[in-house]
């Protein structure tokens, strides 16, 4: 379970103080598929970064699986990221000089798995996203949709409890976006908790629950999204 209570995040420069999150409270239960929407600059990505332990919070508390993460050391945070959280980014973020197999291998290396176990997980992940035959290809040899599928395979290879997706279809055409969302549905159905940040309301409808963020807070009044009822539409 993910639980944020009165979380704040302030970015400071010499002259400016920006409040990206204010009194942000949210609980996401095991197995949920939650979309986070809101206008640009509302704090969606900051929320996701804090949820994924990519940034530290300025105030409040954040518990992941009942553990207060604010007291963790860098190594402990890295371990939690590696073992419990998978990331999917808008720009795929594959490493261009590594082939598909080696890209998916990256988090498994940091996990310390032996070679046979890594190979098993990589093959299974790539099979899941339909790219088992492209293992030796390099990212530049794949389409955008295929690259995002590799990124999903990489995120899933470590069998994380939480999948955090930041605009996962932002760089894809409609057809590819649908196929990626279908894949996320499938993953969620398997029990993985998914939190997806998007600014497109039509995508947010695919989630079981929607959170609307405005001015760094969870808004009481979400927009005209009717959750669940419209699942399956883009």
């Amino acid at each position: 379970m993910l639980k944020m209570t009165h979380v704040s995040k302030i970015y400071r420069t010499d002259t400016v103080e920006t409040h990206a999150l204010r009194e942000f409270s949210l609980t996401v239960d095991e197995g949920e598929f939650v979309s986070v929407t809101g206008p640009s600059g509302s704090g969606k990505t900051t929320f996701l970064n804090i949820a994924g332990l990519l940034e530290e919070l300025s105030g409040g508390t954040y518990e992941l699986d009942g553990r207060d993460i604010s007291s963790l050391t860098d190594s402990e945070r890295s371990k939690v990221r590696n073992e419990k959280i998978g990331f999917i980014f808008q720009s795929f973020n594959l490493i261009p000089e590594l082939n598909i197999f080696d890209n998916v291998d990256v988090p498994l290396r940091y996990r310390g798995f032996k070679a046979p176990e890594r190979q098993r997980r990589i093959e299974r992940g790539l099979e899941l996203v339909g790219l088992a035959s492209r293992m030796k290809h390099y990212p530049a040899q794949l389409s955008g949709g295929q690259q995002q599928r590799v990124a999903i395979a990489r995120a899933l290879a470590g069998e994380p409890r939480f999948l955090l997706a930041d605009e996962p279809t932002g760089n894809l055409d409609t057809e590819m976006a649908v196929s990626v969302l279908d894949l996320l549905d499938e993953i969620n159905a398997g029990g993985t908790t998914i939190i997806m940040v998007t600014h497109e309301l039509s995508l947010a409808k695919r989630a079981r629950r929607n959170i609307f963020v405005r001015d760094g807070r969870v808004s009481d009044r979400p927009p005209e999204i009717r959750l669940a009822a419209s699942a399956g539409q883009v």
């Binding site: 940034e55 371990k79 073992e83 990331f87 973020n93 000089e97 760089n171």
Partner: protein, 438 residues
């Protein structure tokens, strides 16, 4: 993970080939310049007889003028008079001592058709060979009876034996030196003490003498010294007067394996000088010295101060090259912040990334070290070329395995040192900072 980091390092170097080549070049040039000087310094300052250097002592007793020291501030002469050398040798026969001086002889080759030629010679006592660990190819040195009985025996170097006898075992053969016949008792194996510690009067790096014969024979035959002869008191007369004079020209060494031996020899020296004072000699206050091999090299400034300065400058140049490398590494790291952010997001800790980048720097360091060895070789050949004709220079520009290893280790350590700051910057890239960039 080491193999994984190695693979990532090689991939990174390949994907930034130009930048990586610049770094390797910077380290290679720095190491090359540094190791060229270090190699020469290493040869110049090397211990020529490591197994014994702390138990071999040069003997100095101060027979100099009452009005001024041999050298400021109060240095005793570096050599002994013939009188003192032979007195110490005969009175101190409980100690292993060697007296010797450099001379020269004219050799008549066995093949009468060949022309005579001059060789350098060392007049010495039998203990010279075992005391200075001189290796033999054939035969051995002479015994104490040969010294006492003035036997005309001789030991040749390997090179001279090659020239005269084609490298065959010549022990027992006759050799004509200045028209006198000597019996060959031994042929040395290759022996190149560097520096030539047992006689630092002339060129420290010249090769050992080509023949060795008994001190007693040389003195009886009035073989002139071709080393330094220093006198503070004039003498009149011929060779006998020279032998009885206060001129110093004989090198005296003693082997003292223990502290007790040294203490006993010091006492022996003091007693000897006190005794000589009663004969009106040694007008200066007691000033005896025993210096071991390394102390003796230090006293004689075997390593020129200029070389030490040059060594410092070479290391400064290396530091400049390393600063350049650090700058290039920093530029490389800054170009890879997206990759670093991503790896952090996927579970790499700061320590993990630090290790990855240090190993990448290590690969660059090793490559720089290999280039540095090639540059060093070129540098040494350049020095050899500049000093063509000076034989001793050829002995200073030799790069042994220890220097090769030192070059690689120095390059590795240098590259890692240069990488510390850039790597620290890399490890501290905020994970979220670059992940949304398109």
């Amino acid at each position: 993970m080491f193999r994984y980091y190695l693979k990532l390092g090689l991939l990174s170097i390949r994907s930034n080939a130009a930048l990586s080549a610049l770094m390797v070049a910077a380290i290679g040039i720095g190491i090359g310049a540094c190791m060229t000087i270090v190699t020469i310094y290493h040869v110049m300052s090397g211990n020529p007889i490591p197994e014994k250097s702390s138990s071999l002592y040069v003997v100095q007793i101060d027979n100099w003028s009452p009005d001024e020291p041999y050298d400021e501030p109060n240095e005793p002469p570096p050599q002994s008079t013939y009188l003192d050398a032979t007195n110490l040798y005969s009175k101190g026969d409980e100690f292993r001592q060697v007296v010797s001086y450099k001379s020269s002889r004219v050799v008549q080759p066995p093949d009468a058709a060949e022309l005579p030629f001059e060789v350098s010679s060392r007049a010495t006592t039998f203990a010279f060979f075992p005391m200075f660990s001189v290796p033999f190819q054939y035969g051995s040195g002479w015994d104490t009876a040969a010294d006492t009985n003035q036997e005309r025996v001789v030991v040749l170097t390997q090179a001279l034996n090659e020239r005269l006898f084609g490298g065959e075992n010549s022990v027992g053969e006759q050799l004509s030196l200045n028209g006198e016949t000597y019996r060959i008792v031994g042929v040395l194996n290759e022996w190149l003490p560097t520096p030539k510690f047992y006689d630092l009067n002339n060129n420290y790096y010249e090769e050992p003498e080509e023949i060795y014969l008994p001190f007693s024979v040389a003195v009886a035959g009035e073989h002139d010294s071709v080393g330094n002869i220093n006198c503070w008191k004039p003498f009149e007369g011929g060779y006998d007067a020279f032998l009885a004079s206060e001129c110093v020209w004989v090198q005296t060494w003693v082997e003292l394996p223990t502290r007790d031996d040294k203490a006993r020899y010091e006492q022996f020296l003091a007693s000897y000088v006190e005794e000589q004072k009663t004969f009106g000699r040694f007008p200066r206050p007691l000033n005896n010295r025993l210096s071991d091999v390394l102390e003796w090299m230090d006293i004689n400034h075997v390593v020129d101060d200029d070389v030490s300065v040059l060594l410092g400058l070479a290391f400064l140049f290396l530091i400049v090259c390393l600063l350049n490398t650090a700058g290039l590494l920093l530029a490389k790291v800054m170009r890879r912040t997206k990759d670093i952010s991503l790896r952090r997001a996927l579970g790499a800790s700061k320590r993990t990334l630090f290790g990855q980048y240090i190993i990448e720097a290590g690969i660059i360091g090793v490559a720089g070290g290999v280039l540095g060895i090639a540059m060093t070789w070129l540098g040494l050949r350049g020095i050899e070329h500049i000093f063509t004709g000076m034989d001793f220079v050829q002995r200073l520009v030799v790069m042994d395995w220890s220097m090769v290893m030192l070059a690689v280790v120095l390059a590795l350590v240098s590259a890692i040192a240069a990488a510390l700051y850039p790597t620290w910057r890399a490890a501290n890239v905020t994970p979220a900072s670059q992940l949304r960039i398109q």
